[in-house]
């Protein structure tokens, strides 16, 4: 009997945690390069989910009508929309506020989330959408739990993104330049690093990662809706990033998995009728615990 309440949440936790990790890596990327907490990150994912759904099913909004393009084209569109939204955010909100206190930028990103949520409600009302898995079917069964291809894809993509970014920051000149700008913007500029380019690069990349999470996760978790990213992903992703000390890509990666496990174990082992919202409480406890006991995160240094 123990296997049922442990194996299912662990597998679900790994998969969901991979999704949180993807968004968390985007948060870490932005924090490392511009020291900004991006509260619009969840909506990067929601917009990606909406774009991929609408492009793959075809839509007719205002004066634009797009035919049915299929799931893969939809996925590309979702990532592209996420990236575009990230770039727009950088150009029109973050850059004009670059010399202001970071809390001001935080409030501005929260305002972006509001606008994005409102636009999503216009696009999709308050309905829930089910988007199709890129690859359907399940390859194998583990302890009575059947794994979906989509779930394996999510984990694989997270590993790929994590390793890719670790290499980017660790071994490329551009990655080094990105780290340098966050620590000493003026000196970096004098060394010939274009700050605006770096800022655009990281926000665009974070947007694309968010869009990717929005494309990959909803088929696994069930559905998406307006404000999906902010309600379902953002807090978990931030907690994951904090577990990584806000600056560590592998830390955010591990943090995401950990938060996914904690949420799902809390969900399946606590009676919802007597104690509703156990996953949210568990995340709050983890968040406060890390911030008070070990603010540098689990891995403890910038990497």
């Amino acid at each position: 009997m123990l296997g049922v309440t442990l194996v299912t949440p662990i597998i679900l936790g790994l998969v969901q945690g991979a999704g949180f990790g993807l968004v968390a890596i985007g948060l870490v990327l932005i924090y490392k390069s511009t020291r900004v907490f991006n509260f619009a990150a969840g909506e990067f994912a929601t917009l990606g989910a909406f774009a991929s759904y609408h492009f793959s099913h075809g839509f007719n909004i205002l004066f634009i009508s797009i035919p049915k393009l299929g799931l893969w084209a939809g996925a590309v569109a979702g990532i592209a929309v996420g990236a575009a939204f990230g770039l727009l955010t950088e150009r029109f909100v973050v850059r004009p506020l670059s010399n202001r206190p970071k809390v001001t930028v935080l409030v501005a990103t929260a305002a972006i989330a509001t606008t994005a949520i409102a636009l999503e409600i216009v696009l999709g009302a308050t309905k829930s959408f089910r988007s199709g898995a890129l690859v359907s079917g399940h390859p194998f069964v583990l302890q009575g739990v059947s794994l979906l291809w989509q779930e394996l894809i999510v984990i694989f993509v997270l590993v790929l993104a994590g390793v890719g970014l670790a290499i980017f920051f660790g071994y490329t000149d551009l990655g080094l330049a990105t780290l340098a700008t966050s620590q000493e913007p003026t000196a970096s500029r004098l060394m010939g690093i274009r700050l605006n380019r770096i800022s655009m690069l990281t926000w665009g990349l974070a947007g694309a990662l968010g869009g990717l999470a929005g494309v990959l996760l909803p088929p696994v978790t069930g559905s998406f809706f307006a404000a999906y990213g902010t309600t379902d992903l953002l807090i978990a992703a931030f907690t994951a990033a904090v577990l990584g000390g806000m600056t560590s890509v592998p830390g955010a990666f591990l943090g995401g998995i950990l938060v996914g496990l904690v949420q799902n174990l809390a969900l399946s082992n606590v009676d919802q009728n007597h104690f509703p919202g156990a996953p949210a409480v568990a995340v709050l406890v983890v968040l406060i615990g890390v911030l008070v006991v070990r603010p540098t995160g689990i891995l403890g240094r910038e990497a």
Binding site: P101, T104, G277, A280, L291, V292
Partner: protein
């Protein structure tokens, strides 16, 4: 009768010396114009409440409740330099507490209002204890997670809220109609504004502002950083509890879904920012404008012959626009609507009308260090 809208200052140089301003006394006509503005506004309000259907009064009550909630956020973000992204917890706990006291403990609305305010203050102080350890941007995450806990756990507790599907909170006797209830809400807002004004003029208010600029410097000047941080949370939670109790009885049924991150926490934050941090007048003005906009936009869209889809979504478009407005405010005009309401307030007190001399508080909108 000729109405003099401006005191005769046209032949004065634009950059009038402050000494000249100090000696300035409005003419009798000037005083008449100053008296005409509040009296005129009251007449317009009276006409608005009586001419249109009672539901308009109910919606206007909502505008004033948003104002109370935004003033609560203003204490944290504007005065103390703490950020809260979990205000749905503050407001919702107040609303459900009020409903509980009225329908489960069978007390009057006024008892419920006081209890809701005190419970609101208590939960805010508990959150404030975390803020003493976790500062700046990281604390914003804690408030965000606290908001989620309230939405998914506290509002759904059967013993407290009856499961979140609907707790009853009838309007108090004598204020059962929508128009009468508006008067009650207006009085409550007036009391909150009075408390806020007097608090900020006191030692506590100055201490909070010092904290916002720099906790270290404030501590060096003998400000008890921890005590005043907690006080700011208590005051904010108190206002939010009042807002929640007013919200509960306005709806008469309190539902958990109404206290969501997007509809309360983000909306109130945007009202606070666009209204202008530390600008009471601006915050109240924008809260009312926001509600009136949401209310009249569909009618306006209909009369302009815009597509039906636009009419149905007018309120949502308003939300999108106010988000953009908040960003523009942060970039270009950190004092928000206070840039306009500040000078009007000074003019009403018998000074000259100077745009851009909203006064006080520093130029930076949100100012706290991580």
């Amino acid at each position: 009768m000729t109405t003099v809208l401006e005191p005769p200052t046209h032949d004065e140089p634009l950059d009038a010396a402050p000494a000249d301003d100090r000696d300035f006394r409005p003419t009798p006509g000037g005083w008449a114009a100053r008296a005409a503005l509040p009296i005129g506004s009251l007449l317009v309000l009276f006409f608005y409440l009586n001419h249109f259907a009672p539901v308009r009064a109910d919606n206007l009550s909502n505008g004033l409740i948003i104002a109370v909630g935004a003033l609560s956020l203003n204490v944290l973000v504007g005065y103390a330099g703490q950020i809260s992204l979990g205000h749905q917890a503050f407001i919702g706990i107040g609303a459900f507490t009020s409903a509980y006291v009225i329908s489960q403990s069978h007390q009057s609305f006024y008892v419920a209002l006081v209890v809701a305010a005190l419970v609101g203050a208590t939960q805010a102080v508990i959150l404030g204890l975390v803020a003493l350890r976790v500062r700046g941007l990281y604390f914003a995450l804690v408030t965000l997670a606290w908001g989620a806990v309230s939405e998914q756990c506290i509002f759904l507790l059967k013993g407290f809220t009856g499961g979140g599907a609907g707790a009853n909170a009838p309007k108090p006797g004598g204020f059962t109609t929508d128009r009468a209830y508006f008067v009650l809400v207006a009085i409550a807002l007036g009391v909150i504004l009075l408390i806020d004004w007097r608090m900020m003029a006191s030692k506590a208010g100055r201490a909070m502002q010092a904290l916002r600029e720099s906790p270290q410097v404030a501590a060096n000047y003998g400000v008890n950083v921890n005590a005043y941080t907690l006080l700011a949370f208590a005051v904010s939670g108190f206002y939010a509890g009042v807002a929640g109790a007013l919200y509960a009885s306005r709806r008469t049924t309190v539902q958990a879904v109404e206290f969501s991150f997007a509809s309360i926490a983000l909306t109130y934050l945007i009202v606070t920012v666009v209204g202008g941090l530390r600008k009471r007048g601006g915050i109240v003005a924008f809260a009312i404008l926001f509600e009136l906009g949401a209310e009249w936009l569909p009618d306006l869209a209909k009369s302009l012959g815009l597509p039906r889809s636009f009419q149905a979504n007018a309120g949502t478009y308003l939300q999108a626009v106010s988000g953009i407005l908040a960003i523009l405010t942060l970039i270009f005009q950190p004092e928000g609507l206070g840039t306009i309401t500040g000078p009007i307030g000074k003019w009403l007190k018998g000074e000259r009308f100077h745009l851009g001399h909203g006064g006080g508080g520093g130029a930076e909108g949100v100012n706290a260090r991580p």
